[in-house]
Symmetry: D2
Subunit: 348 residues, 4 copies
């Protein structure tokens, strides 16, 4: 009954094997090795175009550093009010951008709309030196509420952003889950839709520590290596991060794994929704289920060993009891059934 | 018909005389002069206690620097969503704090409540390393909407803040207007109510460029001179800033001036409210009137020479036409009557 | 016997009159007024070209902000080891650039050479992501040691800088003194010689608080207003700063005043050099005299009311006793003679 | 003939085995797991006292973040002019401290002395708001020149630092090599000698990516988790970093490995010194050899497949040709002999 977070999971066998295989003698440090080059090539193949790819160790670093490249220190970043950069990263964007400000937009089910972007920009456009210069829109795909933007929705947000001169960042900590559910090509939902830079996460999807920053226009990445280096995010033995990506991007392993996590969540959500007194509050489109349970039930479940979190938001975003359950590539049907069984037992 | 902002006004005669009188020969630079010392003493007298007082040149600098002393770089600052630090200062707080984040609270008539502070803090308390560490509450007195907090309301906010370990900053760009209206002692509405540090503005109140940062507990000001110096806010000829404060704080000039500005706004608001089709949307407690006028009227007034601004907010804070009119110490009855006359003419 | 610093001086009568004259009614805030426009035009006239001009309140702010526009946060700035930015501004450059690093070069008599620039750049060129990206050279004119660069020397430094892709900043806190001594046009020693941006100070030259940042290529100033605003350096009543510049730049007042200060220093230096046991250690080319006096003499002079400072450097830059004496526009022959007389009395 | 850097090496078998063994099912993220706890305990055992230990992914991050905890944004950090933080990290210290300044001291063979600390501090003590507040001394052990401080020398530097109110940071990217050579206890050369916080590196010593920050006084680590988190240096699957440390700190593996690297360097240095025309310029005390070779020889060696770097310094620190050769835990006698053989062949 382990549903606390996808980052509690271990490393997929194939990824671990790739790490082991990379441990061959002396190779150039700081990403000058062949394996890093191969990983970079696989990104270009995956996205069907030349990309500038950089490797970092955490998703927070990926988001903050990606944004630092497209937003000036006196800039502003429109984002969902429940985005990870807004409520789960303590000043990371501010640190790496040198002080840019988040402009949170009230989301529904984790999602924001082009109209909301236009509405905010009535205040920020034309730019005025006494206000932050709104410079980018950050879109989370899949969202922190377990939902997805369709390709058309991403296109709509990007169009709205561009009409105000904003660059577009995509927080893809669960990008694999999103693509696996949409069944689209990675290109369609990113640069073809108007995204400039993607934080592409694999750690939640069975890697050890592997996050990538992908600039779809390599020219936008000028001097980005200096930003990484100053942030302490250039790894001397980068081959071991590259190896993880090579494994993931070979034979669609990343999508297979994400698909399994999604399927487990779908099953879990359906099961919970069918239990009296329980409600799944948002569509379960990736690997996260958000549900309300009758009073005291979550606590009882946890006493019996279940692992999932009470989910909080700042201010008056959500009142009452919300539970988040997250699946991952290794979640088994048995685990899902076991949790559902326990829950049913308590509630009938 | 000049109501664009109180900072369009000139310098009060007595303040200009004080500046002239300060121009006597060679005196120590960087605030080591007697006049600076005298100004500091007058602050202590005015607030009825020992204070640590620092002089800066703009209100934005005062807010950002004051907050930088009580909030760590990974900290968060609760504030009204319409506060000057949130919508009219482009990253100043982030710059001086080294990256702290504003946590805007949805205000009504510019004001926030203790309950809202408690509601936000359900998320931020206890502190969690993956969230910003909420560290301070910034209260604007009088507010950006022309309203006031009563002494009891300030006390309530400070109590709520303290119960969560937050320090309290007061943005007093229009502090004089607030005290003049409340008729209280400056101490009552600041440190006696629980405020730690005050940005005390005089530029909007007839000074040339005179803002002060007042720490009510001098021990909280440790090394603050270094913060000012690095920000380029230590003035070699500080005597000329000090002279302005000496003039203002002598014989209650600051309160007389603010009282005049308030009275003009009160008269203006009453006049507008009595004209058909016009509405004053928030109580006019200091020197700002916020009103809605029938379609096209503001534009017509401006064509005829009236000076006041369309007032915008980000997002969906306010839909429709809002006008802000600001009075100052030198606003005459005649000017108010003239504007009201024009308005009446257009609307009848 | 007041020679502590030129910033102990008062405000020149003509400048004060200009401030008084500017106090006429309501005018647009934040530099939207006519006087600011007129000051801007006078800068263009003075430098014989279109410039982008911005006003700030202190020299530290001018330096830090000017550099922030031409140096990225991961950049480096070559400068003299005794430059004001390196030893008298506590992290200002770092604050405003968002973390750029000073690369101090060992100066002689306050001056550095093109060869030294080349020598440093052997390490920093070509750029390498694990090193700061050397991006600018900051040249102090006149220097902190009372010396000057000739036009040819400025040209030489700028050429060296450009050959490595560095932009050039000039710290002109005493620019007036330099131009007055060189007898050249302001253009010759700045943009015609290769300077990109100038911090032009007037506070040490008889203003109240008036520093300007001048970009000789206006396109390099994009978004610079946002940088000023976020730094709390946009003045609502900017007309009073503009008035000072209008007075200074009219009829060459700035050069007359600086010339007087220079002449007093020349006289003082000659006098000291002629007294047995005293040595003027560097050529006195502007308004600062650096001298060594026999043991105990400086202390005795100060006991008798003389004002000048023991001058220190970090590390092993200078061992032994160094005294700095600074003249200003209002220093009289009588004052100089009085000090020399005292000194002679003590030493004969 | 692979001597480019110790970070080109692979991962030691025992460390890789520990990583594999850590891949067991679901465990709490962000360092809440048992293995992380065990690693922490091993640090306390190794240093013979209670410590606050944090894990980061690179040495640059370790240095910058450790210093950010003990130095204010307006602070200064004394360090060797050839320290890694000064010449091989592009603004990392500035980024994480929020703008503190490095104060480089001219080193001999990579080392600085207590007298030099005193000499610098004549300028910085007592603190003056117009200068950076010198707050820490950073000592590199072993140095970037392949040398060591004896225990007595570390004590001397710490005493000098404390006498001026400076905290002491030790950059221990090659701490293992230093301790292995000194044959002392890790405690003796750190907290017992006066060090406050240590950047302890293992990546250069056969780990995959494992750096630790060790505060010897846990109270100095208050809120440090927030600093890590905001820097994107809190790893969700921290167990895999912890596993590396557990392997290293068990049965003195870290010292065995470092000892092997040292021995190889000693042998290499002795060999080079005995070849006509070659000079080893500094004592080889850890795993780095710095040598000058006759003109053209380094290039010839590289053409034949040898890997080592031309070593550069900024400015006039070193003129002429300097070569750096670095050994690691896996360097074999055969490799050393092979390089020496080639060299001899070329030079006889």
């Amino acid at each position: 009954m382990q549903f606390p977070s996808d980052n509690w999971s271990g490393v997929h066998t194939k990824i671990m094997e790739a790490i082991l295989a990379a441990n061959q003698g002396s190779v150039p440090a700081y990403g000058g090795d062949d394996l890093t080059e191969r990983a970079r090539q696989l990104f270009c193949d995956t996205f069907e175009r030349d990309c500038a790819v950089f490797f970092v160790a955490t998703g927070s670093a990926a988001n903050g550093l990606a944004l630092s490249q497209i937003v000036p220190p006196f800039g502003g970043i429109l984002c969902s009010d429940v985005s990870h950069i807004n409520i789960d990263e303590p000043g990371t964007v501010e640190l790496f951008t040198g002080g840019a400000r988040l402009i949170p937009i009230a989301s529904e089910a984790g999602k924001i709309t082009p109209d909301q972007v236009h509405s905010e920009m009535r205040f920020y456009n034309p730019p005025e030196q006494r206000r932050v210069k709104a410079s980018a829109l950050s879109v989370t795909q899949g969202t922190e509420s377990g939902t997805l933007y369709s390709i058309a929705e991403v296109e709509g947000l990007c169009e709205a952003a561009r009409s105000h001169g904003l660059k577009v960042h995509m927080d893809g900590a669960r990008f694999a889950n999103a693509v696996a559910c949409l069944g689209c090509s990675p290109a369609e939902v990113t640069w073809k839709a108007g995204v400039d830079v993607l934080s592409f996460g694999a750690t939640k999807n069975g890697a050890m520590a592997a996050e990538a920053i992908v600039f779809f226009n390599p020219q936008q990445a000028e001097d980005f290596g200096s930003r990484l280096s100053r942030a302490g995010q250039v790894f001397s033995k980068n081959r071991f991060i590259a190896a993880q990506w090579v494994a993931l991007l070979t034979d669609n392993l990343w999508l297979d794994m994400a698909g399994k996590a999604n399927a487990a969540a779908t099953k879990l959500a359906a099961g919970i929704a069918s239990i009296k007194g329980c409600e799944v509050v948002w569509p379960t489109q990736i690997n996260e289920v958000f549900a309300t349970l009758p009073d005291g039930v979550a606590e009882q479940m946890r006493e019996e060993g279940a692992q999932f979190y009470d989910w909080l938001y700042p201010g008056d975003k959500w009142s009452g009891n919300l539970q988040r359950m997250v699946t991952n590539y290794s979640t088994s049907d048995k685990e899902v059934d076991f949790l559902l069984g326990k829950l049913e037992l308590l509630l009938t």
